[in-house]
């Protein structure tokens, strides 16, 4: 019989908990959501020995079991709910050898829940450099557990950790501190009311404002009587509890840990001197951002061109080799063009997540939060808004989720509302194809116009986000307490494995999740474009023949296809909104792309590709097709005025159903996504309209 051990991985942020998770599970991990909420749930499988498997849950990083955010509440809900199918057989608390004292606070809390608890001391490779030595047998005795000393960087100690996990039944479950000694009166009363219950668990239920839906309801409602104590009284007990825990920890570490300060070299202060300098700090941050954006544009254009032309030749060879018919047309014109529209994003998404995960892993992101807090507060944001605003350049969905560690509700709401203004990667292909079409060659002080235009669009996105935030902060009347506590972690060289797994995980999620939508829309578009009502569509060939008897067969076919498209379902739809978008410089085909873009922006290029390939029978790249589109007077459809107007429309309009869905989830109301949809789209329309009218 193979054994199955359920393991919960816990730890403070910045302890390398995720590295431990990655080292144990590799690519077996899957990311989902906890039921009903959008908190990311990371699970993975780990082989413990030849006939035992571990099922790991990587719980969100938390400093303590006293929760202050939605992410953290997941931790306590799982640990207090014995009936949950994920309730762990063993809890593994990951700590960083350099921050052992603070990290042990969480360990003592988890152990006091009387769950078998293992201690992992990570970053053992740093001990020599920092002059740290540990007396492990003594620590194990005093903390009453087993300790695995590991280094995920050097891949050390993981086998020992697996053995300890297998032996979890031998772990003592006695608590580290006796909670009644904190406030005898209060806890004696509690014990009298609930005999035979763990006092610490009761205490957590009383003090934590989390959703205990799945926990014994009766117990909770009884326990709420104890909430009648003023919260300041409860908080004082919490403070006493913290003091008590630190007394215990200090006593343990005094005997079990020695630090030779002379051996320590200080990378932190040397790097901080530059990276958070009042001038250099900002300059470096700005240069770093610009480098990232330039790199993304340049580096991904090579694989993207390759992908684009590969899909064209794939489609062409299928068309030549498969029997003619509806299915072949659906495959080549609908599905393959649609798939091409997904795959072409992969390089950019991968590069963006590569850079973002390096910034986070290295500890630099916290410095940016520190630098930007004061400035962003002026716009009603928070230093922590930097992370959503920067990760918004990849995708607004994870960015909106990243607002969760902003404790202040008003600042968090504003960050959620303005994040979709930042230039997400779905806008990038729209921009890059339009820039390539309408922005002339040439350079300005060594920076080429095309690159400058792209940079300008990114800055515009950030600028609009700030302006909108400022307006919202003046108009929204919400009062909430503002807490800002940011850990400034040690600088670390990012682990390649962690960066790699992040890039892989995010890219894969994009391809599967966004891919489904894009593919479905592509097929729907193809159907709508290939069929139409009435005699105009069905008798297209005859009508054209009668009207243009002088044309040869080839020209006749082109004319017929164009006429058919115009009278297909989608043509009718596009035509019906044409009056609305003509003042912006667009035709009805762009109108179709605009409508489908409200599902997701990245559909734009694919939609045009599908429409144009239904229209013509020869295969060509999307760019060449767009360049050959002309207006009634023979001038190119995509010129400077219409191109810029279109880019600005995409810069400001709220065209992403997934973002609206996530905003609804995170704000728990339809009000905010509706505000976003209409506010942003009306703004986009007005700006695009005035731009075209001025430039044309």
């Amino acid at each position: 019989m193979s054994e199955h051990v359920k393991i919960a991985l816990l730890g403070n942020p910045n302890t390398g908990k995720t590295s431990v998770f990655n080292a144990l599970t590799g690519l077996t991990q899957k990311v989902g959501n906890y039921p009903g909420i959008t908190v990311e749930k990371k699970e993975g499988i780990c082989r413990l020995n030849h006939n035992a498997k571990g099922h790991l849950i990587d719980l969100p990083g938390t400093y303590s079991l006293n929760v202050s955010s939605m992410d953290e509440s997941v931790v306590i809900e799982l640990l207090l709910n014995k009936k949950s199918k994920d309730f762990p057989d063993v809890a593994v608390v990951v700590t960083d050898v350099e921050n052992l004292k603070r990290n042990l606070l969480l360990f003592t809390q988890v152990k006091d829940l009387e769950i078998p608890t293992l201690l992992v001391i990570n970053m053992a490779d740093q001990m020599k450099r920092k002059g740290i030595s540990l007396n492990l047998p003594l620590l194990e005795e005093m903390l009453d557990t087993k300790i695995a000393l590991i280094s995920t960087r050097e891949n050390n100690g993981l086998e020992e950790l697996k053995k300890m996990i297998l032996d979890y039944r031998q772990l003592p479950t006695s608590p580290t501190i006796h909670i009644n000694s904190i406030d005898e009166n209060y806890f004696q009363n509690l014990e009298k009311t609930f005999p035979n219950q763990s006092l610490y668990k009761l205490w957590l239920v009383i003090t934590q404002d989390v959703n205990f839906a799945k926990i014994d309801r009766k117990r909770v409602s009884d326990a709420t009587d104890f909430k009648t104590q003023p919260t300041s009284y409860l908080k004082r007990i919490q403070q006493k509890e913290t003091v008590k825990r630190y007394q215990f920890i200090n006593n343990v570490l005094k005997q079990g840990l020695t630090v030779d300060r002379k051996a320590a070299t200080d990378l932190r202060s040397r790097l901080d001197r530059v990276l958070i300098h009042k001038v250099w700090g900002y300059a470096i941050f700005f240069i770093m951002l610009m480098t990232i954006f330039q790199a993304i544009f340049h580096w991904s254009s090579i694989p993207q061109d390759f992908i684009d032309s590969s899909f064209v030749s794939l489609s062409e060879s299928m068309k030549n080799n498969l029997p003619e018919g509806v299915f072949t047309n659906l495959l080549t014109e609908g599905i393959i063009s649609g798939l091409g529209g997904i795959v072409i994003f992969i390089p950019q998404i991968a590069f963006l997540f590569f850079f973002i995960s390096i910034l986070e892993e290295s500890g630099y992101m916290s410095r940016v939060v520190f630098l930007m807090d004061r400035g962003l507060r002026r716009f009603g944001l928070n230093g922590k808004s930097v992370i959503p605003l920067i990760s918004g350049t990849a995708c607004a969905i994870p960015a909106v989720m990243a607002t969760r560690n902003i404790e202040n509700w008003k600042e968090r709401l504003i960050t959620i509302l303005v994040t979709p203004f930042t230039t997400c990667s779905a806008r990038l292909p729209v921009y890059s194809i339009l820039i390539a079409l309408v922005i002339p060659e040439g350079s300005f002080f060594g920076l080429n116009y095309k690159g400058l235009m792209l940079m300008g669009l990114y800055l515009l996105g950030f600028g609009m986000a700030l302006m909108a935030a400022w307006v919202l902060s003046k108009t929204l009347s919400i009062t909430s307490k503002s807490y800002f506590v940011v850990e400034m972690p040690n600088y670390k060289l990012p682990l390649l494995k962690n960066v790699g797994i992040t890039v892989w995980e995010k890219t894969r999620t994009f391809v599967t999740e966004a891919g489904k939508i894009i593919l479905a829309i592509s097929i729907l578009l193809w159907i709508l474009a290939s069929y139409g009502p009435g005699k105009d569509f069905n008798n297209a060939e005859q009508i054209i023949k009668e009207n243009y008897p002088e044309l040869n067969a080839n020209a006749l076919e082109i004319k017929t296809n164009a006429y058919k498209l115009e009278h297909s379902y989608i043509g009718i739809l596009g035509k019906s909104i044409e009056p609305l978008i003509t003042p912006l410089g667009y035709d009805w085909k762009i109108g179709i792309a605009l409508i489908s873009s409200f599902a997701a922006r990245e559909v734009f290029v694919g939609t045009l590709a599908t429409i144009y390939s239904v229209e013509s029978d020869t295969e060509d790249t999307i760019k060449n097709r767009m360049a050959s589109e002309v207006r009634a007077d023979g001038s190119p459809l995509f010129n400077l005025a219409s191109g810029i107007s279109l880019m600005l429309f995409y810069a400001f309009a709220m065209q992403c159903m997934s973002t609206l869905a996530i905003v609804k989830k995170e704000t728990n109301s339809w009000k905010w996504p509706i505000v976003q949809l209409f506010g942003m789209s009306i703004l986009a329309y007005v700006i695009a309209l005035s731009t075209y009218q001025i430039l044309a």
């Binding site: 400093y63 303590s64 006293n66 202050s68 921050n99 004292k101 603070r102 606070l105 300041s232 908080k235 004082r236 919490q238 403070q239 913290t242 003091v243 630190y246 932190r268 202060s269 901080d272 958070i276 009042k278 916290s366 939060v369 520190f370 630098l371 807090d373 004061r374 230093g383 404790e407 503002s482 807490y483 800002f484 506590v485 940011v486 850990e487 400034m488 972690p489 040690n490």
Partner: protein, 75 residues
């Protein structure tokens, strides 16, 4: 005894009292407790937020929070 926000860059002090009700529990749990040492490492431009080393934790808090922590200088 002075409020923490009046500490100068590089100065080291000991925490004397804290206004428990005005501080987030998270900060207390990260070591902001009477008796612990505190060093002001750096101030962001416009003197806010403050980058501190409290006990052995490195963290940043805003000036308005720092006003609720009272310290005395250690030479």
């Amino acid at each position: 005894m002075i409020p923490l926000d009046q500490l100068l860059r590089g100065e080291k002090a000991r925490i004397e009292t804290i206004k428990t009700d005005k501080l987030p529990l998270k900060l207390i749990e990260m070591g902001c407790l009477p008796g612990n040492s505190i060093t002001l490492i750096q101030k962001a431009p416009f003197n806010d937020p403050l980058y501190l080393k409290i006990d052995e934790s490195h963290l940043a808090i805003r000036k308005e929070t720092a006003k609720n922590i009272f310290v005395s200088l250690i030479e």
